[in-house]
Amino acid sequence: MASIVTHKLNCRRGRNQILKDISLSVPKGSIYGYLGRNGAGKSTTIKLLLGLLKEKGDNIFIQNLSLKNDSTKIHFITGSLIESPCFYTRLTVSENLKYLDIIYGGGKKRIAEVLELVDLEQQRNKRASALSMGMKQRLGIAIAIYHDPEILILDEPLNGLDPQGIFEMRKLFKNLNERGKTIFLSSHILGELDKTATHIGIIDKGHMVFQGTKNELLEGVRRTIHITPGRPERVVELLIENGFSIAEKDEKSITVVVGKDREFNAMVQVLVHNDVEIHDISSRTVDLEQIFMNLISKNDE
């Protein structure tokens, strides 16, 4: 079952088509990493999901509720942080949460619980305007999770956090996810999404270029194998004969592009059967950043 579903979401600003046929499907209980370059349309998507842009909203469904008809209910089951943390600067940290308490209930116990979760107990009586950048970000997250929403929609939640803060946020997201919360987060810190996300959506120039599990994304990507053989010319001939594509070659080494594990295995078989002398063979680990760059460069073409 999907927590967030959009059908061919479009958004136009003047002559610019910001989003084109975005069909999201965010599975329940997943951590969905939404990736894209600056200006790709990530924040626009998030604003549309929350009803903050003037679109019909009849093709956006959250927990099977239509944004068009049930926006109040949807806002109750979602917590959000959009672009930058929003809070009242003249109020203290705990007063910001007390303000939410008047709306959602929960009492002092919930305020203390949330402050502990985001590690802001020491700053509870500090004016929000006096907080550091990282602490402001935490307060923004505290506001988003205060009412224990089923779905969290977070736009660049790791902005301004130091490595320790990022580590703690990652722990918090995983903790919330283990409690059954669906987390939709956009970030440009690809390494972080690599560690946290279970599902990935990649958007570029308003188009969805990939959507699926992280494993599906990694599976579909070709990887590069760096070989240092005894006779490079012979190896190049052999590999070309057997249909492999050579990415690079120099006097001593060859770089081959292979697809799935099966292809890699086939290449090794060719080399072994032909009794090729190999001094070194290494596979470059493909991370999310490379995949992301590959996908968006394809889109550029």
Partner: protein
């Protein structure tokens, strides 16, 4: 969770009342009333007038005149600053995003905000009214030669303050419209001041009744002439409240998409 008006009002009240500076702002007229009474006491003690012949009502001719000379200029400006501060709290940090992702209907949030503004202004005018009466009674005790105790001015001053409040409610609605339209405080405050000065200049013209800011200046004249009647200006001010609140709601809803 409660998508109730009570939750909307309580949360708005909590948030805005924490901004003590903007609430204290509306206590300035009370302080001013006390100051004028204090000055009157000082002035009369320094220059004794002897027995007054009774033809001058000190509530209207001395105290009221001086207080309302300040009020007609000060109150609209204070209201303009107060209303803008109520909007500015949402402009800072782009808090409209938080406001519009709360599970509360937009119209309830808007009505809660408007009610907070109207109630606070009413509280300020009521406190000024009570301060005015109290200072008058005290002056009657400490300076019996002036003759405050010879007049019952409660009814007249009540209507003068009521008409002032109606004018301020209309001014609040206009200022709310301006503050929702312009983020920069220069525009709403500047336009408010311009309209105040303009209405003071043209108050004798027939069309001035259509400018709610005239109500502020006319409150001064009402005090001098002991005018307690509800006139065209007051009814037009009540209509302005409705018209500008509808406009403000439209602008408020548009904030979702800013």
């Amino acid at each position: 969770m409660s998508d109730t008006f009570r939750a909307a009002y309580a949360s708005e009240f909590y948030k805005l009342s924490k901004n003590k500076e903007i609430v204290v702002l509306l206590l300035i007229p009370v302080a001013l009333t006390i100051f004028v009474a204090g000055y009157l006491y000082y002035d009369v003690s320094q220059n004794p007038v002897g027995e007054i012949d009774g033809s001058i009502n000190p509530w209207q001719g001395m105290f009221g005149k001086d207080v309302f000379q300040f009020f007609y200029l000060l109150y609209p400006i204070l209201v303009a600053i107060f209303v803008h501060a109520c909007c500015d709290i949402e402009y800072k940090n782009n808090n409209y995003k938080v406001l519009f992702t709360l599970p509360i209907s937009k119209h309830k949030i808007f009505i809660a905000k408007v009610l907070f503004i109207f109630i606070t202004v009413l509280l300020s005018v009521s406190l000024s009214y009570f301060a005015f009466l109290l200072c008058g009674y005290l002056l009657g005790v400490v300076l019996p030669e002036i003759g405050f105790q010879n007049y019952d001015f409660r009814s007249v001053s009540f209507f003068v303050f009521l008409k002032l409040y109606v004018a301020l409610a209309a001014i609040s609605s206009i200022q709310l419209c301006l503050s929702l339209q312009f983020k920069n405080f220069i525009y709403p405050i500047g336009l408010g001041m311009f309209l105040l000065v303009f209405s003071t200049i043209v108050w004798q013209k027939d069309f001035s009744d259509f400018i709610p800011y005239t109500g502020s200046f006319k409150s001064y004249l009402n005090m001098l002439s002991e005018n307690t009647r509800f006139e065209r200006l007051d009814y037009l001010n009540l209509c302005s409240v409705l018209v500008f609140l509808v406009g403000s709601f439209y602008l408020f809803k548009r904030k979702i998409y800013d």
